[in-house]
Symmetry: D3
Subunit: 269 residues, 6 copies
C-alpha cells in the first residue's frame, strides 16, 4: 500500500521512539513530511521540513499545523507520571492541535491513543472499541480525553480521526504481556497508512496490534479502515517464555491489560 494521497503530512513527536520510526516510513505517504517535536532534534532531510512546537502553546501549534493535509499525532507525553505535565502536553496540547486543524481546514488526523485507555480490563477479557474506557493512570486518562475530543471535532466540524490505541510497538515483545500487545514497526506503518487512505474514516477507534495469536482486542468494528496486519508476536513466543517467569496473579500487573501501568502512582504533584 504505497499510496501517496497527501501532499504534506504533519508528524508530531517526531523525535520520540515511534516518531523516529515513522519519520522513515511516512515519507512514502506524502510529498513533504513536516516533522515536529518540542525540542530541537536536528536538521530536515530531503522531503522533510521541521517546525518545533510546544503543544501547550496554541500559537506555536497553529503555525505547526497550517499548510498540511493530514496529521499523524504522536506527540505529547507517552508514559505515566504526574498529572500536570500530562495535562499540559496531552490534554491542552491535543485541544490546541484540533483547534488548529479546525482553523486551517485539516480534515484527517491519526491520533496515537493507547491501550492504557482500557488498561483496567482483565487479560482474560476480549473487548471491542465500544467497551467503555477504563484508564489505568494519568496517561491513559489523557488519551481517553483525546479520543472524546476527536469525537467532538468529528460530530461538530467533520474532522475525521482514527484513534489508534497503540499496544507495544518495539522491535520485539519484551515480556509475556507484549505477546498480546505487540505491534511491529511494519504493521504500525501499515495501520497508519490504512487510516490515512481509507475513503471514509469517520471517527474510528482501532487497537494497534499485529496478528498475534493471543490477544484481548477485537477490531471487527473498524473494518472500514482496512488494516491487515502482516506480522505477529508468535515468532518470539518461545524465546519470551524461556526468559520470563510465569505470571503471578497476586500482582495486579499480571492480571490487567495495562500491565505495570495499573500499579503506577500515585505521584507527588
Amino acid at each position: 500500500m504505497a499510496i501517496k494521497q497527501h501532499e504534506k503530512i504533519l508528524l508530531t513527536g517526531a523525535a520520540g521512539g515511534l516518531g523516529k520510526v515513522l519519520r522513515e516510513s511516512l515519507k512514502q505517504n506524502c510529498t513533504t513530511l513536516r516533522l515536529s517535536d518540542v525540542v530541537d532534534f536536528g536538521a530536515a532531510a530531503e522531503g522533510e521540513e521541521i517546525m518545533l512546537a510546544d503543544l501547550a502553546d496554541a500559537a506555536a501549534v497553529d503555525a505547526m499545523v497550517q499548510g498540511v493535509d493530514a496529521i499523524v499525532h504522536m506527540g505529547g507525553k507517552s508514559l505515566d507520571g504526574p498529572f500536570l505535565p500530562i495535562m499540559q502536553a496531552n490534554i491542552l496540547g491535543t485541544y490546541n492541535l484540533y483547534e488548529a486543524a479546525r482553523k486551517f481546514g485539516v480534515k484527517r488526523v491519526v491520533f496515537a491513543s493507547s491501550n492504557h485507555v482500557t488498561g483496567f480490563y482483565r487479560q482474560d477479557e476480549t473487548i471491542t472499541a465500544d467497551a467503555p474506557a477504563r484508564p489505568d493512570g494519568n496517561y491513559g486518562l489523557s488519551k481517553a480525553f483525546g479520543e472524546d475530543l476527536a469525537r467532538y471535532y468529528f460530530d461538530r466540524y467533520g474532522i475525521e480521526t482514527a484513534c489508534v490505541r497503540i499496544g507495544s510497538s518495539f522491535p520485539e515483545p519484551r515480556d509475556r504481556r507484549m505477546l498480546a500487545t505487540f505491534l511491529s514497526y511494519g504493521d504500525l506503518h501499515r495501520l497508519i497508512t490504512a487510516c490515512l487512505t481509507t475513503p471514509a474514516l469517520g471517527f474510528s477507534i482501532i487497537f494497534g496490534m499485529s496478528n498475534n495469536s493471543v490477544t484481548w482486542w477485537d477490531n471487527s468494528r473498524a473494518r472500514h479502515v482496512g488494516y491487515v496486519p502482516q506480522d505477529s508476536s508468535d515468532v518470539f513466543r518461545e524465546a519470551v517464555f524461556a526468559r520470563t517467569p510465569a505470571p503471578d496473579f497476586s500482582d495486579p500487573a499480571a492480571l490487567h491489560q495495562g500491565g505495570a501501568f495499573v500499579r503506577m502512582g500515585p505521584y507527588e504533584q
Copy 2:
C-alpha cells in the same frame, strides 16, 4: 467445491450481466441448468434448458419453477428507477416465485438481494445481517421486501433461502467505493455454491463481497453457510486510487454505503 448436489437448478435472469457469468459456472453444480429470462436470449447449450417467463405472470412462473431442485434467483430489475416496474418485477415477481416454489416443492433458494437494502448506512460503519434495513431507493426497497418474503416462506413452509446481498460484482472495481463492495465472479460462484450445498441453510442473510481489506460488512452470523472468499479488491487498489478523485463528503454518495443510489430519484411515476 465442485460438489454437484442438485439434478436441476433454475437460474433466473440468465440473460443479465451476472446471469451470463453464472450460466457458465453453475453448470458444475447440477446435471441440467434451467435458464430463464423475460426475453429471448438464444438457444440452450448442452446440459441446459431454457424457459422464458415474465416474473409478474404467475402461470409462467409456475411453469418455470416446476421440476427443479433449487433456484438461483437473479431475475428482475437490478437498477433503481420508477416504482411500478420494480414492483411488478421484484415484488410481485418474487412473490410469484416463492408461491411456485411452495406449490412444486422446491426447498432451497439463493436470492440475489443487494447491498442497497442497507445503502443508507455510512461507509464508516460496520454492520451485520441483523442491522435493520435502510434501503436507498425503490430497488433497495424491493430487495428488502424479497428478504422479508423469504423469511416468511421459511417460517411458514420451511423453504430455505440465502439472501445474498451482492456488493459490486464486476471484472474489477470501478471506483473507490467498489474497493469495499467488490465481489469477484469466482467468489460469486463460490458463495452461491456454498449456499446451495451447506447442510442447513435456514433463512440466512449474507453480504456478497470478496476478501477486501476495506469493508463495511460483517458476515460472522452466516458461518454456517461456509463461504470463504478467495479473491480481493486489494490488487486493484493502487490503480483505482490513481484514476479516481478523493471522496468529497459534501456528496451523500461519498458518505453512504449505497453510493450514487442514495441520491437517485425521485422519479416521475
Copy 3:
C-alpha cells in the same frame, strides 16, 4: 394531552373500524380533520372534510394529501388475504402516499403498521423494535414493506414517521392472546397523539399496546415518543379465561405472536 399542534390532519381509512374511532378522537388534535377512504361513507361533520381516494391511484392520493400538515395512515387492507389486492392497497398505496407527502411537504406521518410484521415470533419471547421482521402472511409482509418505505423517506427526505405496530384494538380483548396485544381506544388515541406531538420523532417503530401485564413487546427504544398507556387488559383477564379454553400448543396459532394469522393461506391468486 389535548395539545392541538396541527392545522389539518389527514386520516386515511376513515370508514374502517379504527378509522371511525379516530374520526372522533383526532378532532382534538387539529382544526380540520380531513377524512378519506376508498368508498363513500357519508357527509363531513363540522371541522371535517372528506376526500375519497383509491390508494393505488397516485393522482387521487396526491389530491388527498395536498394541503395537510400531518397524516394518520390507517387506510388499506387490514386483514390477510390474496396478495394482489394487498399489494395494490398497502404496497403501491403506501408508496403513493409517501410520494405525495414528499411532493406536498408533509413532514410527519403516523403509519398504522401491525404486530403481524413480527407475527412469527413466539409468545414466550420479548422483542424490541430492532428485532428483524418475521411477517406472518401477505398482510404482515405489506406492513413490513411500509416500514422500510418510511425509513427510506426519512433517510432521504427527512419525513418523520412513527410506525405503530397495532396489537388488537377493540373495545375489549376477545381471547387469551389479546390479553397481551390489547390496545384500548383511549390508548390508541394517546399513542397517536404522542407521535404527532413529540418534538423529535425521527423514524420510530412502536408497539401499540395498553399497559397489559402479559406482553411480548418492549417499547424501551421509543421513549422519545412519550407514549404512556393508561388502560390495561388486566381488568378483562378473569372473564376471558372463563370463556376461552387453555391454549393447545399443537396449534401454531397458540404458540406465535401473530395468532391465527400464522396459519392463514395459502390463497388462490
Copy 4:
C-alpha cells in the same frame, strides 16, 4: 428517604444555582454539611461549615476535603465556554478533588456530570449509560473526563462514584427540549440521596431526569442505585407547547440532545 448515613458531607459549588438548592435539602443527609465555593458566599448556618477553595489549587482542595465522609461535587464551570478556564476548574479541579479523596480516605462521591457528555446523540435516540460519550463542547468534554477519572479512582483505589448526568434542573422546563431533560429539585435531591445511601454504588453513571414521558435516556443499568423519581415534566407540557414554537430541524439544536450547546463555540482562546 430521610436516611442520615453520613457525619459530614462536602458540597462543592455551594453558591451556584443547584448548590443553593442542595444546601437546603442535603442537611437531612448528614450531621454537618461542609459548603465550598470559589468566592465568598456568606456565613455558615447551624449545621454548616464553610471552606472556600479554588478547585485548581491542590492544597486548598486538600483542606476542603479532609475530614468529610462523602462528597457531592457540584463545583466548577457549568456552562460551555473557552477551554482554558474549563480545563482549570473541571479537569484539574476534579483531579485535585479525587486526589484529595484518595489521600483522606473519602470513599464515596456524587459527581455532577452532565447530559452534555452525550449531547451529540439525536433526540430520537434512546441511550443507556454504556453509549460512548459524544460531548457537545468544552464543557461536555470536561465532564466526560471527570467520568473517566472517577472510573479510574474506583478501579485503582475503590472510591465509589455516581456520575449523575444532570439534565435540566430548574423550577420548571423552559422549552420543549427540557420536557425531556427536566429534573425537579425534589428529584435531584432524591437522586443524590439514593447515590449516597445505596449499599453498593461502585462506579455508576445515571441520567438525572424526572419521570418525564418523553425521554432519551434509559437508566435500567443503574437499578442498584435505587433512584425513583416522583416528579414529571408532564404537568408543564401544555404550557410549554403553548409558548414555544415547533422545532425547526434545520437547526442542529433542535435535533440533538444537547440542544443549543451543540452549536456553541468555537471560542477565542
Copy 5:
C-alpha cells in the same frame, strides 16, 4: 388474579418455610392441592392431599407426580452445605421430578431456583436472565443444574418451566442486602400464579423480587409471564438502615449479590 386454571397442583417442599406459605395461598389456584415433603408433616386439610417422597427415590417421585396438572417445585435442600446431600436432593431429585413429569404428561412446572445461581455478580451490576450463571456454592450449582435440566425438558419434550430465582422471601428484609432481594409472600404467590396461568410460558427465567427501589435484576425478558409485584422493601428501608451497619467492602459478602453465601464452605465431604 384468583384464576383457578388447574385441577390438581403438586407442591413439593410443602413443610419448608415457603412451602407452608404457599400451602395456604396456592389453594386458590386449584381444586386439589397435593402436598409433598420428605418427612411427615401432619394431616391433609380439605382440598389437600399429602404424598411423602424422598426426591432421590425415583419410584416415590413417580407416585408423587402421577395425576397432577402442574408442579410447583419448592422441595430439596435450600441452604448451602456439603455437596453429596445437595446432589441427591437437588440434582438427582430434580432429574427424577422431570422424568416423572415426562412420563405422566405434566406440561408446566414452576421451579424454585435461586439468586444464588448468579450470586457471584457484584451488587453494583444489573443483570438479566441471559447473564451466564455464576453460582456461589454447592446450592447455587444445584439450582443452575436444575435450570439447564428444565431447558432440556422444554427443548426435547415441550414441558414448560418458569425458573423463579427467588431472592429473599421472608416477612420482611433482615439486612441491607435483602432490601434488594426482598420478595414478599404476597408477591411470591402472585409470581407463581402468573407462571401457572400465562398462556405461553416456554422456558423462562425470572428473578423473584418485589418492587424494590434498589435492585440488581432486570426482568424485562420475562414480560410474557405477566408478573406485576405489588409490594416493596422500601417501607422497611429506614428501619433496616437503623439497625444494621454500613457495608464493609473488604468482606466479599458485602460486595456480591449472593451475600454471605459467597464465603461459605469449603465443606468436609
Copy 6:
C-alpha cells in the same frame, strides 16, 4: 508451540479415545505426564506415571491430583446414556476433581466439555460462548454442570479453567454434521497447549473445532487463549458428500447442532 511450562500434568481419561491421542502429544508439554483412568490400561512409559481412580471416589481423586501442576480432564462418561452413571462420573467426579485441585493448589485446568452443552441450537445459528446452555441430553447436562462448577472455582478460589467444548475429534469427519464440528487431533493438541500456556486464562469457554469453512461457533470471545487451528474439514468435504445422503429436516438430528444426541433417550433408570 512446543512450550514446556509445567512439571507434571495430570491427564484423566487416559485410556479413552482422545486420552490415547493426548497421551502421546501432551508429553511435549511437561516433564512428567501423570495418566489416570478408572480401569487398568497397562504400564507407564518413560516420562509417565499412572494412577488409577474412580472419579466418584473423593479419596482416590485426591491422590490422583496431589502433586501436579495442571490438569487436562478428559475423564468420565463421554456418551449419552442413563442419568445415574453420568451423575456419578461427570457431576460428582468433576466436583471431586475441583475439590482436590483446591486442596492441593492446582491453579489451571483444561476441562473437556462438549458441544452437547449447546446441542439444541439449530445448525443455521452461529453462537458464541455466551449463548445460554441448551443441553441435548444427560451427557450435555453433566458437561453444563462442569462448566458452572469451573466458574465457581474460579470466582471463589481463583482456579483457572478452559472449558473446551469439543466438537468431533476423530481422524476424519464421518458425516456432514462433522464437517462443521471436526477437530483434528493436531488441533486438539494445539488448543490444549494454548489453554495451558496462555498467560491469563481466567474462566474461558472455547469451542473445539478446526478451521472448518462451515461452522456454527464463534470463538471471538476467547482470543486471549491464543488458539489458532491449522487443520480443516474442508479437505474431506467432497468425500463426505459423496458417501452420505442430503439432510432430511424431518429428523431433528439433521436440524440441531447436537446431531443424533438430540433424539437419544429417554432411558430406563
